[in-house]
């Protein structure tokens, strides 16, 4: 059901391939031709000033924003964008390739932690409630919340809510996990637990694209850092290359500002 044509250039090891991706909101061009490959099992951290387009890029990957033009390929599923409306079915199935973790958690407030995690598997994947419950409990204990499964979101701290958010995204068994500033809304003392869960995921070999301001996390966990400014990739490289030998003036200036 995906368009497979000969323009594919994705390498065998690549999980994600983004080609010449553009996104405009009205007259404002937010992404100006992004090209990026993400290899299977790698962790990519996207950094950049606010308004640089990094969150938009992430949201384009699971089609919460529909790109204006270009192409995205995830795990052999190719999506071309040309401004035409895409059928909802296609969007929904492409979206299930990725799990999204939001800055403000966006947990379902009327459902318990367990129900939040079960919702996707039961409703979307049609898995039996019993099976989904078992799996959800596994995921919640993995993020350290085995004793909180029956709590409603309002009974949980920000850090706990975000870990439920991660478990919920993992529940749909995505090929790629997307993190949109997952710790920005958290009190400083709660950031560590969330980052630890993300590190564990990375060690298990999950392919991850992370937008974050946590430079320590970026240094420790990222395989590649991508610096975006004004809707373009200015520079990318290993954490060592970017943090200690940035090639571009814009990268240097950004790093000086945040440190």
């Amino acid at each position: 059901m995906y368009q497979n044509n000969n323009r594919r250039t994705k390498g065998v090891l690549d999980m994600i391939s983004i080609k010449n991706l553009h996104k405009s909101f009205g007259d404002l061009e937010v992404l100006k031709g992004i090209d990026l490959e993400v290899e299977l099992g790698k962790v990519i951290v996207i950094i950049g000033p606010s308004g640089s387009g990094k969150t938009t890029l992430l949201r384009c990957l699971n089609l919460l924003e529909i790109p204006s033009s270009g192409a995205i390929e995830i795990d052999d599923h190719l999506m071309n964008f040309n401004g035409k409306e895409i059928p909802q079915k296609k969007i929904v199935s492409f979206r299930s390739l990725t799990g999204m973790v939001f800055q403000n958690y966006n947990l379902f407030p009327h459902k318990t932690a367990l129900e939040n995690v079960m919702e996707g598997p039961v409703i979307v994947k049609g898995i039996s409630k019993k099976q989904a419950k078992e799996k959800a409990m596994q995921l919640l204990s993995k993020v350290g919340l085995a004793d909180k499964i029956d709590d409603y979101p309002f009974q949980l701290s920000g850090g706990q809510q975000q870990r439920v958010g991660i478990a919920r995204a993992m529940g749909i068994e995505p090929k790629v996990m997307l993190f949109d500033e997952p710790t920005s809304a958290l009190d400083p003392e709660l950031v560590g637990d969330v980052l630890q869960v993300m590190k564990d995921l990375a060690e298990e070999g999950m392919t991850m694209v992370v937008v974050t301001h946590e430079m320590r996390f970026a240094k420790e966990v990222a395989d590649e850092i991508v610096f975006i400014d004004h809707g373009e990739i200015v520079e990318k490289g290993t954490p060592n290359e970017i943090f200690t030998h940035p090639q571009h003036e814009r990268t240097r200036r950004f790093l000086e500002q945040i440190q």
Binding site: K89, F108, P109, V124, R168
Partner: protein, 234 residues
């Protein structure tokens, strides 16, 4: 004062009033049970279904549905309920559609509730943060699933207090059905008063009955609200 004086100076008159109040209670309560309460409940259920459909039409991307819903709401909200009832009951027979009093009242009141409640439901749906839609989408739900599983349950909680107001207003508005010949509670009071001319007594009595029904409903409303609030921090 005149009434009170006359009651206290004349024990016979007092007994007479008490006996009228007692004997009129049963017919009025019957009117309530047979017409006022069923009319209110049936109308509210039908009106709510209509309201949900109208609200969905209003938030849909279809221009046609949107326009139809807008026109419907505009006509109902822009014209008096009593005039609507008269058109249905006294007007439509001119076109050959004769509808009995009770069904006429149900149609009129349902259309009315549908229009007012649709705005409440629409506002409640719009009040749910965009992030909730996105969270639904992000776990692979389509629009319908997200609306049904994520948005509606939260919107329901938001809309309970204003919908309860609509419901309580409806109980009182059903007294207008007396004017299209439905033998509901207020019509019973009118009928009895027209035989013995004790207007103050009988209309006060029926007012108290309405007040009791509405008070009971308010208590039930409070219970429903606190039940739906269980997942909200206080």
């Amino acid at each position: 004062m005149f009434l009170l004086n006359s009651i206290f100076q004349d024990p016979e008159r007092f007994d007479q009033l008490v006996s009228i109040a007692q004997s009129s209670l049963l017919p009025m309560v019957k009117g309530a049970i047979k017409y006022t309460i069923p009319l209110t409940i049936i109308t509210f259920v039908l009106g709510l279904i209509l309201a949900i459909l109208t609200a969905l039409a209003r938030i849909s991307s279809s221009k046609i549905l949107n326009t139809i819903a807008r026109i419907y709401v505009s006509i109902i909200r822009g014209t008096p309920l009593l005039v609507q009832l008269f058109i249905i009951f006294y007007g439509l027979p001119n076109l050959g559609f004769t509808i009995d009093p009770f069904p006429s009242a149900i149609i009129g009141f349902s259309l009315n509730v549908g229009a007012y409640a649709s705005e409440i439901i629409r506002a409640a749906i719009l009040s749910i943060p965009k992030g909730q839609w996105e969270a639904g989408y992000s776990i692979g739900m389509n629009r319908t699933q997200t609306l049904k599983r994520i948005i509606f349950p939260q919107a329901a909680r938001v809309s309970i207090p204003p919908l309860s107001n609509t419901f309580i207003s409806l109980v009182k508005d059903t007294s207008l059905a007396s004017l299209v010949l439905v033998s509901e509670m207020f019509r019973k009071a009118q009928e009895i008063a027209s035989t013995n001319y004790e207007f103050l007594l009988l209309y006060s009595e029926v007012a108290i009955l309405y007040w009791i029904i509405c008070t009971v409903l308010s208590i039930i409303q409070g219970r429903i609200e606190s039940r739906l609030d269980r997942y909200v921090s206080k």
